[in-house]
């Protein structure tokens, strides 16, 4: 019986080991996916802030150009 159990047990042990290995891999995959999503979101929010600042700057520059020019083009 011990001889019969051994290979089966070994197999089962091996299977457990494999599953743990697979589990580690899949949880790392999930962490990567989570990281990618959160990186995407934070990047988008920062880029949106940048966009707002850029738009505000553009409007201010437009105003200043209008103030400063007397009809000639700014080239």
């Amino acid at each position: 019986m011990a001889g019969q159990e051994d290979p089966v047990q070994k197999e089962i042990h091996q299977d457990w080991a494999n599953r743990e290995y697979i589990e580690v891999i899949t949880s790392s995959i999930k962490k990567i996916a989570d990281f990618l999503n959160s990186f995407d979101m934070s990047c988008r929010s920062r880029l949106a802030t940048l966009n707002e600042k850029l738009t505000a700057l553009e409007r201010r520059i437009e105003y200043i150009e209008a103030r400063v020019t007397k009809g000639e083009t700014l080239t």
Binding site: E11, I12, Q14, D15, N18, R19, I22, I25, T26, I29, I32, A33, L36, F39, D40, C43, R44, L47, L50, N51, L54, L57, E58, R59, I61, E62, Y63, I64, E65, A66, R67, V68, T69, K70, L74, T75
Partner: protein
């Protein structure tokens, strides 16, 4: 439930069936699980690349904008150092007269459209079932429509909304025109004192602007006696559109004073006020034609009012020369006003008389020759006004087709064919009446006297040209109205809002027509 943007494909790692004939099942399962993991990693890396690509594109666009901003800032820095406060002249009028600064209000349009679709969403879309290929049948259709549009049309709702908006803007415009006409009728019939103000306000934007150009301390004071003189003087000096103004002014002047008085006071009023205004040379140049115009206008109104009398006045042929010129210069929107004088003859009797005047030129034997030359030039002069190229021809056009219907049965000579629609068929009929009348007119001229025929042939040619111009302009307007808008939600909405909230001013309407595409 939110839409999943990116999906990693082998969702369940270990659920595939174990193939038969395998002894070590656990290892088999492990291996297939590891294979699925590898596929997942592949999908994950594709998604990661996509994510970073989107972020990179956005950041790149910001980089370009930032660069251009940097260049502009550099140019501005250079320019500002060159500014010299001593050299710069700033006139007080310039401060108020210059166009106010308006920042560019660019609105994002069509943000969520097929062009801006994300890649993963597009892949998901392509993975979906396609609609049935009804487009195969579209070559066999009779009405040349796209076969698939009957099944699914993405632009259906936008087209529906656009048609509704265009219809709404048209209705608003027509309502406004009807309101304006109604207001003018009411005000001119009921309230002559208020009529002066209303009529003047429609034309005097320039006066208001010039007034606003001065600061409050510097505006020329309003010490003068009430409206007609003040209006006449300042308009005479400041506005370039002289004939229109003087027509306008002598018209409000006429109900308040007898016509000759108005004509006499015109030069007097201007004389009195040249001291105040600086553009004296303009005044002097404009006064003689203005006096002529004012006199012509006053006389024309006396003609309109005493129309049944038809007393021939001796100065008629002499004024026929300047009057066609005045008629050509005057803008069309005064047409309704002149056709609705405060005196008894309301529009329909006047217009049929005009119509009879038209037809009477074709048929000389229907009218008393003595009465005709006085009546016809006056009415023809008034009629030539809407035919001269003027921005809103539809208001005068709306006056003409309706009387043409009852009147066409009446005149015995060269009756125009009963027009099914209004203006396009109406305009050929007087043209037809005109062409045979061209032959009859010289004959009539010989009958009545030589100076009269010259004046009438001038008028006749002017009227012919006016009619042709009006026809072309109507066609152009119809074409323009067929395709007035681009496929832009913003432009459609802005047009609709402009029509709804625009102050009732005739100038705004031709402006809208002009800037439509």
């Amino acid at each position: 439930m939110p839409l999943v943007k990116r999906c990693i494909e082998p969702r369940h790692l270990c659920r595939g069936a174990v193939p038969d004939g395998v002894t070590s099942e656990l290892e088999c399962v492990t291996n297939s699980t590891l294979a699925a993991i590898i596929k997942q990693l592949g999908g994950l890396s594709r998604h990661a690349e996509d994510i970073f690509g989107e972020l990179f594109n956005e950041a790149n666009s910001f980089y370009m904008r930032m660069n251009s901003l940097q260049e502009r800032v550099d140019l501005l820095a250079v320019k500002v150092t060159q500014l010299d406060s001593t050299v710069e002249e700033v006139s007080l009028q310039d401060i108020n007269m210059r166009k106010a600064f308006k920042s560019s209000t660019i609105q994002d349009q069509q943000v969520v459209s097929r062009n801006s679709i994300l890649n993963p969403v597009m892949e998901m879309y392509h993975r979906c079932d396609k609609p049935p290929p009804l487009n195969i049948l579209s070559p066999y259709r009779d009405d040349n429509k796209d076969g698939l549009k009957f099944y699914t049309d993405p632009s259906y709702f936008f087209n529906l909304w656009r048609e509704k908006m265009i219809q709404a803007t048209e209705n608003k415009r027509k309502e406004k025109r009807r309101q304006k006409a109604g207001d003018k009728e009411q005000k001119q019939v009921e309230d002559p004192s208020r009529e002066v103000k209303k009529v003047r306000k429609a034309r005097n934007r320039r006066q208001e602007w010039n007034m606003m150009a001065y600061d409050k301390e510097f505006r020329p004071e309003n010490r003068l006696t009430p409206s007609p003189y003040h209006g006449m003087s300042s308009e005479g000096s400041l506005s370039p559109d002289r004939s229109g103004m003087s027509d306008e002014l002598s018209y409000p002047a006429s109900p308040n004073h007898p016509p000759q008085e108005g004509a006499v006071l015109g030069p007097d009023g201007k004389e009195h006020l040249t001291g105040l205004n600086q553009t004296q040379s303009l005044d002097r140049a404009y006064r003689p034609p203005a006096a002529g115009n004012a006199a012509a206008q006053a006389r024309q109104h006396s003609l309109g009012r005493v129309q049944p009398n038809q007393g021939p006045t001796p100065t008629d042929p002499s004024l026929n020369g300047p009057r066609p010129a005045a008629a050509k210069e005057a803008s069309g929107h005064q047409m309704p006003e002149h056709f609705i004088p405060p005196a008894p003859p309301p529009p329909p009797p006047l217009i049929p008389s005009a119509q009879t005047a038209f037809d009477s030129t074709a048929g000389p034997h229907t009218l008393a020759p003595a009465g005709l030359p006085t009546l016809a030039p006056g009415t023809m002069a008034t009629l030539s006004r809407p035919y001269s190229p003027s921005p809103p021809p539809p208001p005068p056009a709306s006056y003409f087709p309706s009387p043409s219907h009852p009147v066409t049965g009446g005149p015995p000579v060269a009756p125009p064919p009963p027009p099914p629609g209004g203006p396009p068929t109406f305009t050929p009929s007087p043209a037809h009446a005109m062409h045979p009348s061209g032959g009859t007119l010289p004959r009539k001229g010989k009958v009545l006297g030589i100076p009269i025929s010259d004046a009438r042939s001038d008028l006749l040619s002017a009227i012919r040209r006016g009619i042709q111009l009006r026809k072309v302009q109507e066609q152009r307007e119809q074409e323009a109205k067929k395709e007035p808008v681009g496929n832009d939600v913003a432009t459609i909405l802005s047009r609709r809002i402009a029509v709804e909230y625009s102050e009732s001013d005739e100038d705004s309407e031709p402006e809208e027509n002009e800037w439509s595409d």
